[in-house]
């Protein structure tokens, strides 16, 4: 996190009471949301309530052993993040302390308390290449230079939004630390590579626009049926084991974003370790560079302090907005937003606030919508365009979507990927229920798909939806009378639907090839199933029995397209379609 620099002298206070992560202090001169240091060990906390002379603080670290009478010191600044080169390829806790630095400073694999560290390395030098010259006029937000941050990303150094701007009077070029001034303005404002921003405040923009480009995900069911827009919002609710984390990780790996901010909020430690291990080994499908070159990780796992869990989503989205300001498309995944909501609930109940539904604070809905509102496709204050897409996992208790977090989230987000325990149990992955899920972006993204993938993308998709709908109805009858009692054409529809489910909707995230499917291949697989459908119904009309139609040798190959390498897929499909056609036509 940011080391507070403001130096207004403020009065120190004294601890009055301690109850888990909530501490009250007397006589503390602090404002709402100011960061304070609590007790002899200097544990980091944030002011969340002021009542008369009593200040309530949520503490981001364990409070065992802390006692009344110990001092509390205010920094006089709100919880802020350090923004600058070096955030990519990093892993932070919920208040932007780099976990690798903490390991080193603490000399242990276990997280000790009272250790602080800046979010970006203050010693490291970066090569600054100016984009402005002396005499140029710059305004707040303008890009003044470029720093090669990683193999994938050029970091844009910007005039902080709260600067006035003016005429450039001096410009440096070469290697500097993030705290050294690289550009100076005539009004005395000095620009460094590092800026600070309070996490609970959205960074300013000019205008929010309607998204028209998809955030392609490489996941067939998402791109094919329920696409997300760049700048869009999506929720993935589902019971445990239904595939929320695998879906979030697949998106983090394969979505065509420039930058990925991945927040592990109150979830498993090993899942973050998995990301740390896997990402450097995997190529970014867009650039071919290793995935960490575009990724910033935030890990506040379930056993880490609950107050820092509350703040980690804000830390994440502020970092996302900063890269958006540079003109990048950023995708943010939060796994899981329910843990964030529960952290709010935990703190709220310690404050003895009046509980709302299921014990959540009455402001739950407001906090959720404030957060998702920070997503969008924006015109930035420097004239560039950038986006923040937000994908939140939701973990409803007992898998019941009627609970407050799921319901309040669904009122805000425009894409709903409903995970289904039943599908997961039969290992139909991704276990996204195609009846319940929806994307409100579908129509506005169609022009992109028809221009960039195939003219008849919307028609093919509609065909698939119709078959799946019909299958749903037929299955109800099958449950009563068995499949063989159905007329032949309906039996054939069931077979076609089976291939749609097995060869198209299912996708194995653990298979080296299948885990990523470019939109073109998604289209081809669907096309192959459609070819089988059309030829099969012709054969049926010509009197060929269903059993013979489904018994042709080439058919099982439909299920192997997904695992066929992308560069061989087109040929594989062409050959398969020929074989299916030939075999079926030979039956009559």
């Amino acid at each position: 996190m940011s080391q507070a620099t403001e130096s207004d002298v403020r009065e120190d206070g004294v601890i009055e009471s301690v109850s888990g992560p909530v501490v009250t202090a007397k006589d503390l001169g602090a404002r709402m949301n100011d960061v304070v240091y609590v007790g002899h060990e200097g544990l980091m906390g944030e002011v969340i309530e002021i009542e008369g002379n009593l200040t309530t603080i949520q503490v981001y670290e364990e409070t065992s052993g802390v006692s009344p009478g110990e001092p509390v010191e205010s920094t006089g600044a709100p919880l802020s993040v350090d923004l600058g080169p070096g955030m990519l390829d990093s892993i932070y806790d919920g208040v932007q302390r780099p976990l690798d630095v903490l390991e080193e400073k603490m000399g242990s694999a276990f997280l000790d308390r009272g250790v602080d560290s800046p979010g970006i390395d203050l010693e490291k030098t970066w090569e600054f290449e100016p984009e402005v010259s002396e005499g140029d006029e710059v305004e707040s937000g303008d890009i003044v230079g470029i720093v090669p941050e990683t193999a994938s990303i050029d970091h844009k150094v910007m005039v902080p939004p709260d600067y006035e701007g003016g005429e450039v009077v001096s410009v440096e070029s070469g290697n500097f630390t993030v705290e050294e001034t690289v550009v100076e303005l005539d009004n005395g404002e000095e620009i460094q590579m590092r800026q600070e921003w309070p996490v609970r405040e959205a960074r300013p923009t000019v205008d929010k626009q309607t998204p028209t480009e998809p955030l392609t995900s490489g996941q067939r069911i998402l791109d094919g049926l329920f696409p997300l827009a760049k700048g869009g919002t999506a929720a993935i609710p589902g019971p445990f084991g239904s595939g929320k984390t695998v879906a979030q990780q697949s998106l983090a790996k394969f979505a065509d974003a420039d930058i990925v901010v991945y927040i592990g909020c109150g979830e498993r430690g090993n899942e973050m370790t998995e990301v740390i291990d896997d990402f450097p080994e995997l190529p970014d499908p867009q650039t071919g560079n290793d995935l960490m070159a575009r990724t910033c990780l935030i890990a506040n796992t379930s056993n880490m302090p609950v107050a820092a869990r509350e703040s980690c989503v804000y830390t994440g989205i502020t970092i996302a907005e900063f890269y958006r300001d540079m003109g990048y498309d950023v995708a943010l995944m939060a796994d899981s937003t329910s843990r964030w909501a529960e952290a709010m609930r935990e703190i709220s109940s310690r404050l003895e606030e009046m509980p709302g539904e299921e014990g959540y604070p009455a402001y739950l809905a407001a906090r959720l919508s404030e957060f998702y509102e920070r997503a969008g496709y924006f015109e930035n204050i420097n004239g560039t365009e950038g986006s923040v897409s937000v994908i939140g996992a939701v973990s409803p208790p007992g898998g019941d979507f009627s609970e407050p977090v799921t319901q309040n989230t669904l009122r805000i987000v425009k894409t709903f990927w409903a995970l289904d325990a039943d599908l997961a149990e039969r290992r139909h992955f991704p276990a996204i229920n195609w009846d319940e899920s929806y994307s409100l972006y579908r129509d506005q993204l169609d022009p992109w798909f028809t221009d960039n993938v195939a003219d008849d993308w919307p028609e093919q998709r509609q065909w698939a939806i119709d078959v799946l709908d019909e299958e749903g109805e037929l299955q109800e009858i099958v449950q009563l009378v068995g499949k063989d009692a159905l007329p032949e054409d309906q039996q054939l529809t069931l077979e076609v639907a089976r291939f749609l489910k097995e060869a198209w909707l299912q996708q194995n995230a653990l298979h080296d090839v299948d885990r990523y499917c470019p939109p073109e291949k998604t289209y081809e697989i669907l096309g192959a199933i459609k070819t089988f459908n059309d030829e099969a119904f012709d054969a049926l009309d010509a009197g060929v029995p269903v059993d013979e139609i489904t018994d042709i040798d080439s058919l099982p190959r439909l299920n192997r397209i997904g695992t066929t390498p992308d560069d061989e897929a087109e040929e594989f499909v062409a050959e398969l379609e020929d074989d299916i056609t030939e075999e079926l036509r030979s039956l009559y």
């Binding site: 601890i15 009471s17 301690v18 109850s19 364990e62 409070t63 065992s64 052993g65 802390v66 006692s67 009344p68 009478g69 110990e70 892993i91 976990l99 903490l102 390991e103 242990s108 694999a109 276990f110 997280l111 000790d112 019971p239 445990f240 084991g241 592990g264 109150g266 498993r268 430690g269 090993n270 370790t273 998995e274 740390i276 796992t301 379930s302 056993n303 880490m304 843990r339 529960e342 935990e346 109940s349 299921e358 014990g359 973990s395 208790p397 007992g398 019941d400 149990e425 039969r426 290992r427 449950q479 009563l480 009378v481 068995g482 499949k483 063989d484 097995e502 653990l510 099982p556 192997r560």
Partner: protein
């Protein structure tokens, strides 16, 4: 040390005391009753002039004249390798008549969180010898994999079987040449004396006690103590694993009793309850136990956890199994119907899951076909299960030949693959070969989740025909 006789209120397991010096949050407290009995407790809330104390052994016998001493430190567990072979009560005092424990060190029982950056991803296959686990829901070193059961079901038999049979295959041939040894930590919370005996007898019979540390909080021991027992157990486990290099298997039973104790304390504090009366912080609390499983970069040892819980009314959506499943790396489901059919162990693989399986299996770890075989069996068994409902309505004759094969598959899967008895130890080769026997009942073209080469190698054609005949 300051002594107070200023108790103002006693309510359930809680005692409120006025103080004139600051007391640390979470600090340990001794309360001496007028009869001279000592009770221990912990500070739940600390304000400048009063504190709330949660007593471990209940408040019976405490009155306003009892005296209260604050020990100035949080709860510690004395740790040493000599704990191996010992039986302790739920607060960590020896109850086996053995010598006093001379600790190496006293460790805070509220462990610090492992830095996610310092973890090593668990991927070493543990062979339990149980096909439903090894074949379908593989356990790896450093995993937390609970058993979800119901009252009266044989979860203990399964846990004991795992504790007896668990090995890591290469080490079996090579001996323990990496110097790491295996240890079992058993933490009992509120189980009956009978259940406790079942465990102790088995430990003694197999000689496992020597490499075990047992913590016993029985059904008639104080309920609040149950919130401490697993923390003592896990502190010991971490010490043995990360200081002494042991591979530690921690069995915690019954987590349901632990959660009931949490609920009791919450109610006594008049907290706003969460779902079904359990505290809103139960997820965080459970995570602070379960996340203490794992491996650490550069350390030899590991902590593997098998918590056992009984689902109230067999309901997996009940907050206890639900919050557990959200934290642990999968779950093994014990099923009442399979149990009444006599299947041993009665594991229902469909709702079971091992999230760490994928990285622990495959070529060089178990066998190249393992993932495919498991996926295919899952799909086929799920299909067979669905058809069973239909058969009840329309009868077998109304089903196609294909459907009948799936029905037979589901039956044989339960009878031959899952069923094995608590004393049979199957190695992974044997488990997979039973798997292929079953898969060979299905038409070859139906095997779309297994690689072609594996089908070539392991599928036997005559099985399919025998069934048809």
């Amino acid at each position: 040390m300051k002594e107070y006789q200023t108790i103002t209120e006693i309510s359930g397991p809680l005692v409120f005391v006025e103080t004139d010096e600051p007391v640390g949050y979470d600090e340990i407290v001794e309360i001496e009753t007028t009869d001279g009995e000592i009770r221990r407790g912990q500070v739940l809330d600390s304000a400048s002039d009063h504190v709330a104390i949660q007593t471990f052994e209940g408040t019976g016998g405490i009155d306003r004249d009892s005296s209260v001493r604050f020990l100035g430190e949080t709860m510690k567990m004395p740790v040493t390798e000599d704990l191996l072979g010992r039986v302790l009560d739920g607060s960590g005092n020896p109850i086996d008549g053995g010598p006093d424990i001379v600790p190496d060190e006293r460790r805070d029982i509220v462990g610090e969180a492992i830095n996610p950056y310092s973890r090593e991803y668990p991927e070493e296959f543990i062979q339990t010898g149980v096909s439903a686990i090894d074949g379908m829901n593989t356990l790896v070193r450093g995993q937390k994999l609970p058993i979800f059961s119901g009252s009266g079901l044989p979860h203990n038999d399964l846990a004991l079987q795992i504790a007896r049979q668990a090995t890591v295959p290469e080490e079996e041939d090579g001996g323990d040449d990496d110097g790491s040894e295996f240890a079992v930590i058993f933490g009992a919370m509120g189980i009956t004396a009978e259940e406790a005996n079942e465990f102790m007898d088995d430990f003694e019979r197999t000689g496992a006690l020597e490499r075990s540390v047992v913590f016993m909080n029985l059904a008639d021991d104080p309920a609040v103590e149950r919130t401490v027992t697993p923390r003592l157990a896990l502190t010991t486990a971490e010490y043995l694993a990360f200081d002494k290099g042991y591979h530690v298997l921690v069995i915690l039973t019954d987590m349901t009793n632990y959660c009931e104790a949490l609920r009791e304390i919450g109610a006594a504090r008049e907290e706003v309850p969460g779902r079904r009366g359990y505290p809103g912080y139960m997820y965080t609390d459970l995570a602070q136990l379960y996340e203490r499983a794992g491996r650490i970069k550069g350390e030899e040892g590991s902590v593997t956890q098998i918590p056992i819980l009984t689902m109230p009314s067999d309901d997996i959506t009940h907050p206890i199994p639900d919050l557990t499943g959200y934290i642990t790396e999968g779950q093994i489901l014990i099923d009442r119907d399979l149990n009444s059919q006599g299947v041993e162990p009665p594991v229902n693989v469909l709702p079971s899951l091992s999230r760490l399986m994928d990285d622990g299996i495959g070529e060089g770890l178990t066998r190249g076909d393992h993932g495919g075989v498991s996926d295919q069996i899952y799909a086929a068994y799920a299909e067979g299960e669905d058809l069973r409902d239909l058969v009840n309505i329309v009868g077998r004759e109304a089903l196609s030949e294909r459907d009948n094969k799936y029905l037979d598959f589901a039956d044989r899967f339960e009878e031959e693959f899952v069923q094995q008895g608590y004393d049979t130890n199957r190695d992974i080769e044997e488990t997979l070969s039973i798997g292929w026997d079953l898969l060979s009942m299905l038409p070859r073209e139906e095997l779309n989740r297994v690689d072609e080469e594996n089908i070539e190698e392991y599928y036997t054609d005559d099985e399919a025909e025998t069934v048809e005949a």
